[in-house]
């Protein structure tokens, strides 16, 4: 297990390096520069700024300089914000992650519950209704739901605050908006795998031992049915942690999602690199964790083969 984790971490580092390289050259190939903003700069100022951020050097040299900095843990200075990129990320990432974590917990609990009910319910309309809801959930974009929620609960009913994340109450709408898609996906996954598990022979054997239906479903059924959900949940968490530009903008949440999109629009090179590497790191790490958790849930999965 330890050996496997180390191996995966090394591969992860390699992936991250490739990711950084590709992003760096792609980013440089986009036309425009960080300084063609609102106010006009004189040629001297421009030359000065270019020199300051090493933009006057050839791209290859810039790349080497950037990697050198990166190896020392220096993500550079944000051109637009004039602040250390690392500091900016460490300020906005936790905001997104808190919101993502709330959405994740909602998605897991609600998704698994809905999926299980849908798979086990003897009443046909229950299962139809849940299928309708989950299909809606995967098709409705989060910004639409966010707008609907904002209008309904924020503007008309005035039950929930609409700006920022100051109190737990502030989390309800943005988290719901982000969680709808994962809820629906998890419910669909749980429903199909639970339906499959219920047909398995070991469920009959478990019942033949005199266990109650509930205990058979929870102890024998869910454990098996949740394997595909675990595999899905890891990457989903990474997706939630990378934040949603639209939802963050709509609810004025100072998260990394909106920061990332802003940096691309502004050609804020060091910020783009910083966000990419940070999110890449998150996704790779969560994937490794997912595989480790899968092996814990299913003893048949042998890591490292």
């Amino acid at each position: 297990m330890f050996k496997y984790t180390v191996k995966r971490a090394l591969f992860g580092a390699l992936t991250l390096f490739i990711l950084a390289t590709i992003t760096f050259f792609l980013m440089k190939s986009i036309p425009g520069n960080p300084f063609n903003g609102d106010k006009k700069l004189s040629p001297q100022q421009l030359a000065q700024l270019n020199e300051k951020y090493h933009l006057d050097k050839p791209v290859g040299e810039q790349y080497v300089l950037y990697l050198k900095g990166l190896l020392q843990g220096d993500l550079g200075i944000s051109i637009a914000r004039k602040k250390n990129v690392g500091d900016i990320i460490f300020k906005c990432a936790p905001v997104t992650m808190r919101l993502g974590m709330v959405a994740f917990c909602i998605a897991i609990v609600v998704g698994i519950t809905l999926g299980t009910i849908s798979a086990l319910s003897k009443k046909k309309w229950v299962s139809y209704f849940i299928t309708f809801f989950t299909t809606l959930g995967v098709s409705v974009p989060s910004f639409l739901l966010a707008l609907l929620l904002l209008m309904l609960f924020g503007v008309w009913l005035r039950w929930l605050p609409i700006v920022g994340l100051q109190t737990p109450k502030h989390y309800i709408m943005p988290a719901t908006a982000i969680a709808l898609y994962p809820i629906s996906m998890i419910a669909k996954l749980t429903r199909s795998s639970m339906g499959e598990v219920m047909k398995q022979d070991y469920m009959v054997l478990a019942k033949s031992k005199g266990s109650s239906s509930i205990s058979v479903i929870v102890k024998h059924g869910l454990r098996n049915a949740l394997l595909p959900v675990v595999t899905y949940a890891g990457p989903m968490l990474a997706f939630l942690f990378s934040g949603s530009f639209v939802v963050e903008t709509l609810f004025s949440v100072p998260g990394i999602g909106s920061e990332f999109v802003k940096s691309i629009n502004g050609r804020d090179y060091s910020m783009i690199m910083g966000c990419t590497i940070f999110l890449g790191f998150l996704i790779i790490t969560l994937n490794i964790i997912t595989d480790l958790v899968s092996a814990l849930v299913d003893p048949r999965i042998k890591l490292g083969k």
């Binding site: 022979d201 009959v204 031992k209 005199g210 266990s211 109650s212 048949r300």
Partner: protein, 335 residues
């Protein structure tokens, strides 16, 4: 009093194509410490009879008629006011006074739970033993069914066991609470021949050690011959002949039983060819009105198609339902 007495059991499966009448009036008794073999080919309703008794039918299956007496108490689902009452009663019976051994050890064990956890389940369900005591009992059971180093194996998962070892675990589960009735549903079908012999030997050794009565479902007459006291032959959802092992093997009355016996290879009669029974079992979506075997029977008469024969007794233990035996001498005409 019989330990288990099943009377006129009918089980139906409701499918989109119509109602499948898997069991159509099966009746049998099981006495104390007896081993009853139920023999029949695939689709004859033998497994579904037992799943009906255990209350383990799949969701679209129902007991439509009949009584099931366990120690004189009717445990047919029809005898209960609600499904909930029935389930509650059955939860206290399953794994406790009635246990089941299943066909395929590869699919009947939960792949993600430790052997120990699964083996301790019936013990924890039906006794007041603590977890620690239950584990001790589980280890004893594993020893009893011949699993080497059970202290170590108890913490392993099913995929770390071979097929034969898994079947031993399933047998151990059935033995856990010293049940009065053990129903073994083709316990050797899914195993290699050499392992089959070992598992059969285990069962026949156990049957002398424990107080349980055993119902052995099989389509293998060889299995029956080696351990059963009495045999019931099932065909088309009905029991067509019952008798002691001697009566069935030496004085078979039903043409189907005779046909089954001639399908068994006898190493002492080298030259004799095996004689398969031509045709296929009846369609239980539209079961025949008369004898279910009529289309494959070489003695079939006009009446066989029209009416189900009455059961006739040849001795206290030997009964058979066939017109050949019910007709007066000379009254039979081939048609």
């Amino acid at each position: 009093m019989s330990v288990l007495d099943v009377k006129n059991l009918h089980t139906k499966f409701y499918t989109e194509q119509g109602d499948v009448q898997a069991v159509r009036g099966a009746s049998f008794r099981l006495e104390k410490k007896e081993v009853l073999g139920i023999v029949g080919e695939s689709g004859s309703g033998k497994s579904q009879t037992m799943f009906s008794v255990m209350g383990l039918l799949s969701a679209n299956g129902r007991v439509a008629e009949g009584e099931i007496y366990l120690n004189g108490e009717n445990i047919s689902p029809l005898a209960f006011k609600s499904h909930r009452d029935y389930e509650k009663k059955m939860e206290s019976i399953r794994g406790n006074s009635m246990a089941m051994i299943f066909q395929d050890p590869m699919t009947f064990l939960n792949p993600v739970l430790k052997i120990g956890t699964q083996l301790m389940e019936p013990i924890l369900n039906h006794t007041n033993l603590s977890k620690k005591e239950a584990k001790q009992r589980a280890i004893e059971l594993m020893e009893k069914v011949g699993i080497p180093s059970p202290e170590k194996r108890i913490n392993q998962y099913p995929f770390e066991f071979s097929g034969g070892m898994r079947q031993r675990i399933i047998i151990a589960m059935a033995l856990a609470c010293n049940p009065q009735v053990i129903i073994a549903d083709e316990p050797t079908t899914a195993l290699d021949v050499t392992i089959q012999a070992q598992v059969l030997e285990l069962i026949s050794n156990l049957k002398d050690e424990i107080d349980s009565s055993i119902i052995m479902i099989t389509h293998d007459l060889g299995v029956v011959a080696s351990i059963c006291d009495r045999i019931a032959i099932m065909y088309g959802g009905k029991i067509v002949e019952t008798g002691t092992d001697r009566e069935i093997f030496y004085e078979p009355k039903h043409p189907y039983t005779i046909g089954l016996l001639s399908c068994v290879h006898n190493p002492e009669e080298e030259k004799k060819d095996l004689k398969p029974i031509p045709g296929t079992p009846p369609d239980l979506l539209n079961p025949p009105k008369g004898c279910p075997f009529v289309d494959r029977c070489e003695h079939a008469m006009r009446i066989c198609k029209l009416q189900m024969p009455e059961e006739k007794s040849f001795s206290e233990t030997h009964q058979c339902s066939c017109w050949l035996n019910s007709m007066p001498e000379g009254g039979a005409s081939n048609d």
